[in-house]
Symmetry: C2
Subunit: 429 residues, 2 copies
């Protein structure tokens, strides 16, 4: 039984209880939202190391760390270190995007060790797993990859079921600056084009749902047609795919399969609210998982920042799940430092959005920090920092004459000035 | 004659022509906006090295770099390096916030060498310049500091003329988590409290305007009551000061003095639009200069990111001028690396906002980058990057087997996949 099927039968699962405790909600509220499909709990029945997280309506914004090897940078020990770092920094999800060679041992290791929800894009693994070229693959082959990942214990999978031949028609009619920039989506599109066939995950969607239901894999409907440049944002291609994704959400829910929807991409900040609201509307309130959005194309080396800007506004407008972006985006496979920078920037975006959308208790952390700041109490401030190690390093690199100030203002500290006035006033009143 | 007085008389100054050329507007449009006060061109008649920039309605968002020494970190050579870096990275403005000892030689050096507009907060310099404690200073003393800076050639000055005894009444009635966090504002407030007197810059505002008009100093009305924590955002204290600032805008314009208004501070993302719109309304469309806003209090070490998030949305909503924030904010006086990080993050915010608010030609840069990206042409991408040096370093650190890919996707590059399909299709059609 999937979390969704259980919820519909009125059953409060252990995973729902865990989620409720984390979010300080009552378990019945979580159950009701899982039942209506506005919250998902990615939790493959085979992922025993999982600490289940809820993603969706009214919950804290969650974040995902992409990792995995490529053909050019193929060192699984580094990928394990990245996974450990993600765990240390409390990322709620990890996607293994390994896209070359034999990926199973690393995936198995991740699932055996990781409390984070594990996601994959099975299309990345098709060539490596099947040992044949794309044009020789059958629809059955592609399903066999999905089934393998589901059996391995993957909690959520990106499947680009929405890029149909109908959507392809819009691709031909609406030239773009950057075409399709989804790896999985473009491979599937190439398969469809070479074969002259319909998208197998669309055509045999019930078969896909059967696999997902069996293992309680949460379907993450991929946005193959997301914009890869601000110029291409919110065009006919993207919206036609989104319409299809919304229809597929309804079918997944009806089949008892948990489902979320992926969103763009690159776009100007001014397009973000519209995109989030449209995705929520067309997809019937399904949890929204956004990639970025990256709000300008010109900052390679700093796309953790461009994505944090877009991610904050997206989540404040209703997106539920942010995919981190690292400074290496558009330039190379990220190294360990890139992963750290990406995670921190994404956590800032999640938390800032939670403040903006009024997630209960989100402001407690900020208030504790600001109370410490008012007292100029660095001993209290540093452990409260999102990255205490960096805050400590900065503080220790530059010590003020008066311990109870910092080297920015020194004796001109406004906190001290105001405290002195307020104290004097309270004495004289 | 100030730029504002000239504009009102129908005169198109050389500075207006320079601004018009930079913005690709006709000079008459710039003149008309300067005349109505929705655009300012900070340009002290004594700042001969200045390359004049316009700030305000319909123009590209501009950014300011804070630098200057403190009592604890007092190395003017480093500050000169920061100024050079700001020039190299094309910051439009530099505020010298030196707040200890004899500041004049550095200020004079800056004005002699800097094409950026130079701003100061004269209150920071009062103790150092006057050589006496705050409680011994007279109103005349404070005006003498302003006059000195104006004579030195400072283009814009933060003056906290809006924190009046009436506003102080709101300070007492509305306890805050972090009181006042403005250095200049808190010093002035302390002076008013100790003396039991009205704010001299408010009481003798016409005297202030006389100085500004004589040298064409643009008045930057400081927000002493900006929120220093998300908790304190948009309270009675802040809004009561803003009301006063709006009244002072009208008087400045009537006196022929260019004027802009400073805005908060720390606030949740959800408060930003309201704040920008309220400031624009109450201050009659005066150019808005925002500090941050910082959208969560918990990320010391990363406040260049929290501020870039808030700054992008602010400027997209109508703010015209962003004050950069560095990773050192709340921890120490920034070093050279911090300044670089802060400038880049702020430039990202400015440009992303320009895309969002549809500044003419802003998208050209992104489109050029995306065209290069579509061709996987790193030779074209790297010089187009906001920070070509970092982009090049990343690219060179991780070379793919196939030069025409990157190590993220390698042979699975969606750009290459799609180009191959489109080419094949165009051949077979």
């Amino acid at each position: 039984m999937t979390q969704l099927e259980a919820a519909r039968q009125g059953i409060v699962t252990e995973a729902m209880k865990t989620v409720a405790a984390e979010e300080r909600l009552d378990a019945e509220t979580v159950r009701a939202r899982v039942a209506e499909g506005t919250v998902v709990i990615p939790a493959n029945i085979g992922h025993h190391a999982l600490h289940p997280w809820g993603i969706g309506k009214g919950l804290r914004t969650k974040m995902n760390v992409n990792l995995g090897i490529s053909k050019d940078v193929c060192d699984y020990e580094t990928e394990k270190e990245k996974a450990q770092l993600a765990a240390d920094l409390k990322a709620e999800a990890i996607m293994d995007l390994s896209c070359y060679g034999t990926t199973a041992p690393f995936r198995e290791w991740l699932i055996a060790h990781s409390p984070a929800a594990i996601g994959t894009v099975p299309m990345y693994d098709a060539v490596g797993l099947l040992g044949k070229g794309l044009k020789d693959m059958t629809a059955d082959d592609l399903f066999s990859v999905v089934e393998k990942h589901a059996k391995d214990g993957v909690d959520f999978m990106t499947i680009h079921a929405g890029i149909t031949q109908e959507v392809a028609g819009h691709v031909w009619k609406n030239p773009r600056l950057t075409n399709l920039v989804s790896r999985g989506g473009s491979i599937l599109f190439a398969w469809m084009y070479m074969k002259g066939k319909e998208n197998p995950f669309y055509e045999q969607y019930d078969r896909l749902l059967d696999i997902c239901r069996t293992y309680d894999v949460t379907l993450s409907l991929g946005d193959a047609c997301r914009s890869g440049s601000c110029h291409d944002s919110t065009d006919a291609v993207q919206v036609s795919e989104l319409i299809t994704l919304g229809e597929l959400v309804v079918r997944a829910r009806a089949a008892g399969v948990q489902v979320m929807v992926e969103g763009p991409g690159h776009m100007p900040l001014s397009d973000i609210r519209m995109n989030v609201e449209l995705a929520k509307k067309l997809c019937h309130g399904a949890p929204l998982y956004v990639l970025g959005p990256i709000v300008t194309d010109v900052a390679p080396g700093y796309d953790h920042i461009t994505a944090a800007i877009g991610g904050t506004l997206s989540a404040a407008c209703g997106a539920d799940f942010l995919c981190y972006v690292t400074p290496a985006e558009h330039l190379r496979l990220p190294d360990l430092d890139d992963v750290r920078e990406g995670i921190i920037a994404s956590k800032i975006a999640c938390h800032a959005a939670d403040l903006a959308k009024g997630v209960p208790h989100a402001a407690d952390w900020d208030e504790a920090m600001s109370r410490a700041r008012q007292k100029v109490d660095f001993g209290a401030m540093i452990p409260l920092a999102l990255d205490p190690e960096k805050a400590r390093r900065y503080r220790e690199s530059s010590r003020p004459e008066d311990e109870n100030t910092c080297t920015m203002c020194g004796p001109m500290c406004p906190m001290k000035t105001m405290s002195a006035i307020l104290e004097r006033r309270s004495r004289t009143k």
